[in-house]
Symmetry: C2
Subunit: 336 residues, 2 copies
Amino acid sequence: MRVAILAHGKFPHDAKTAVGVLRYGQQDVAAVLDRETAGNRVADHLPDVQDAPVVEGIEEIPGDIDQLIVGIAPIGGGLNDSWRHDINGAIQRGADIAAGLHYFLSEDQELATLADEYGVELRDVRKPPADLGVADGSARNLDAEVVLTVGTDCSTGKMTTTWSLLEAARERGWDAAVVPTGQTGVMVDGSGIVVDRTISDFTAGAVERMIEQRADHDYLFVEGQGSIVHPAYSGVTLSILHGSMPDSLVLCHETGREAIRKYESFPIPQPAEVADLYESVARPLHETEVVAGSLNTRFVETDAGAREAVEEFAAAIDAPATDPVRFDPDEVLDAL
Amino acid sequence: MRVAILAHGKFPHDAKTAVGVLRYGQQDVAAVLDRETAGNRVADHLPDVQDAPVVEGIEEIPGDIDQLIVGIAPIGGGLNDSWRHDINGAIQRGADIAAGLHYFLSEDQELATLADEYGVELRDVRKPPADLGVADGSARNLDAEVVLTVGTDCSTGKMTTTWSLLEAARERGWDAAVVPTGQTGVMVDGSGIVVDRTISDFTAGAVERMIEQRADHDYLFVEGQGSIVHPAYSGVTLSILHGSMPDSLVLCHETGREAIRKYESFPIPQPAEVADLYESVARPLHETEVVAGSLNTRFVETDAGAREAVEEFAAAIDAPATDPVRFDPDEVLDAL
């Protein structure tokens, strides 16, 4: 699938979805749309991902595209009116639109009418399927080895770790798939459910359904969300843990982070304590274990410093660890 | 407020909301509508609740009513067409309608038009407020003593225990309020949010908002839902635990129940183990303790047998316990 990614004013540092698709997506990226960095190439900013030109607008994209991905989400999740020109243009070129905004494109009268006229799809990835139901606990009985990334907090690298594991597993020839649970993951994979937007009674059921749909693979890497010790999102975290019934957990942590992000009065317990909590709360339903750690060392300047932090983390949780972005995820795969 | 309760074919045994309102509601119940038991009185079936006549239909209700409560919910939560006559009649008599169905009365064209014509409200208690947001952890900082009922499973008596505690606390002259989180509780109290219908990202936030709105009371009894070891609902349970930041927990269990109801392949751990789990997962955010137990002994024939079961339960969880329906909730209040 050939796509363009809209990221006006935000590429690359505030464009998590755009970067996720460039790094891990199977899509062929024709261009990134960003008025501020137009004229550059992706490689000028991100040397280790798929390269593409950065252009001003939809008119400058070379050749046909199948889909325009809205690769940024402003605070509040609204649709910025300055994007309409490009979205309309993409529709008129026959491209589907995929977006992860709180504001649903499919409920926008202007866009819906135009999409109808040109026979394209407006895909709001945050909109949950209408037919979700409660979990029945069946993910416990599957043959696939289910590996869930869990965190000491939000934004510790669960998504990145999940996709790193997927890529490395495939390189080893393993039959592996991901279970995407967040908007970027769903965009990257082209399937999945943004579970934090589901009705809370159905959240575990949504995860269970995705597991079952992928159960014919040998390895399933489930993208975790939030943290069991997060004041706002712990319910989503636990729904994923109990909905996916993982055989193994990978604990994601950012080195040096001491408090929950944006909830600074809530200290993060020691990683080993968080690992124990995940294991304890999973055990009555399905025995599982933190088999490895994934440490985010992006704020550590030197590789030597990062290595040291990883070693300390591994000792603290008594399991092998790595930083899968800075180094590689082999320690984690070896532990499975 | 003077109300009638629709419970066709289900009163009293399959009419949880009807019985909840009769037992604990502040509403004055003018009549129960049940074609099958019409001609009886409530007292013929339930000697220990507010009495009222059971009548065939809306025409037989003596005097004016302010609200018709739909006090039953069929499997699937649909609107039974045989109820329309009574609902329409209530609207035409100027009564609001309150329902906890999955099917929203306010989105039914016929009912919405009629309600508009007569200037009455269609109150769908399962419909969450549109302006919910994420929790900010602020429930931790309130002066009120927050007491949450938690369970080893669904349907162990959390709602009943919560309202028993409220009534007994008020009898002692304590300044107390409830935080209703389920549809029956919301009907009984006339306020609250059915939290298992909220978007999972906002579930803890919904609980937190209710706590804050009631924070001027000395005691808040929060109605728990599900169980931390439930394969489908544990996320809702944890969202309530972290959203309400309770100072004390009351563990609700049904004597003799060994597996999760309707999930028979999932054994319930020992109650003491479940108590430990609740305390462990709360601790990183807000220290709390299981201070008492509430044992449902409805299937124990004799009071002597029930006393024995309660004593065993108390010993097992190392805290005072009672069956608040069969005996009284004083042991729990004394423990606070």
